[in-house]
């Protein structure tokens, strides 16, 4: 079960990246709703770059 969960959701870095990206996008969306999506994309791309190297 644990292995399956890890295969689906990835390691801690993966989960932390998605959680941080969503929190930041949610925070920005409360001030500038339309900008939240762009921030979410940028953070996820940044997280992918960090994990890819």
């Amino acid at each position: 079960m644990r292995k399956l969960l890890q295969l689906i959701f990835g390691d801690v870095r993966n989960v932390a990246s998605v959680a941080a990206a969503l929190l930041a996008a949610y925070g920005l969306s409360r001030v500038a709703p339309a900008a939240g999506g762009a921030l979410l994309v940028l953070i996820l791309i940044g997280a992918a770059a960090l994990q890819a190297f």
Binding site: F9, Y26, P33, A34, V41, L44, I45
Partner: protein, 248 residues
């Protein structure tokens, strides 16, 4: 049927077609990873769940309407978690940091386990994607159904589904000629795009998060696809440059 009823049926057909195209995109992406048979099975299972829901609750869908945002957020977050992992793996393969078929050389048993688990997860993605889009079609049918009749509205939605399936299956053969990692990369970008769209849309409201509506999915896909290739280029290992170009 009167002109107004034809208009209503056309509206349901076109709006349903948009939702079915999104659902089919997910099934298509998953089919490339786990095969058409299993992906179609997941889609059929989701459609069955929707049919059962409709049979049980009929047109009384106030509860479903209230919960659709929560369902969207939950599925979106799941897709983000799964999609980001696939995205990184595909980028590393393009960059030559993970061998394209290193699993085949050793750890055959582990690989088999891994593929089986990933296959299960991919099945769930197809199931949830079709379930969510199907629920949206259901809401649409009920919302617009009162302008004509529920059977006519449901018939229009079903006709749209058949058209989308027919067109989609035409894409099956050309896709088999695309290299494996390129397909997996496209799948990851599609899953991430839907995850981003539904995840944030479910949390802050779709209209607030994505003023462009469903059209945002296109630029999301373009952004992930473009950025991923740039990251792969920057992270490439010189000795594998040849294989990266060949695979691309």
């Amino acid at each position: 049927m009167t002109a107004a009823q034809w208009g209503g049926a056309s509206a349901v057909f076109l709006a349903s077609a948009v939702e079915w195209v999104e659902a089919f995109t997910i099934v298509l992406a998953v089919a490339l990873a786990i095969g058409w048979r299993r992906a179609a099975g997941a889609a059929a299972a989701a459609l069955t769940v929707i049919a059962v829901l409709i049979a049980i609750t009929g047109a009384g869908i106030d509860a479903a309407r209230a919960d659709i945002e929560r369902i969207r957020a939950a599925i979106g977050i799941f897709l983000l978690l799964f999609g980001l992992r696939w995205y990184v793996k595909a980028i590393r393969r393009f960059a030559g940091r993970t061998a394209l078929h290193d699993e085949a050389k050793a750890f055959a048993e582990t690989r088999e386990d891994l593929e089986r688990s990933e296959s299960r997860a991919a099945w769930v993605i197809a199931f949830k994607g079709v379930l969510l889009e199907g629920l949206e079609v259901w809401l649409l049918v009920v919302a617009l159904g009162h302008t004509l009749s529920y059977p006519a509205a449901a018939g229009s939605a079903a006709a749209a589904l058949l058209v989308v399936i027919a067109v989609g299956f035409g894409l099956k053969a050309p896709l088999t000629r695309v290299p494996e990692n390129t397909l997996k990369y496209a799948v990851a970008c599609a899953i991430l795009s839907f995850g981003t769209f539904w995840g944030l849309g479910g949390i802050v409201g779709e209209r607030a998060a994505w003023p462009m509506g469903d059209g945002a999915l296109l630029w999301l896909f373009a952004a992930y696809a473009g950025a991923g290739r740039a990251i792969a280029w920057a992270a490439r290992v010189p000795s594998t440059r040849g294989s990266v170009e060949m695979e691309a």
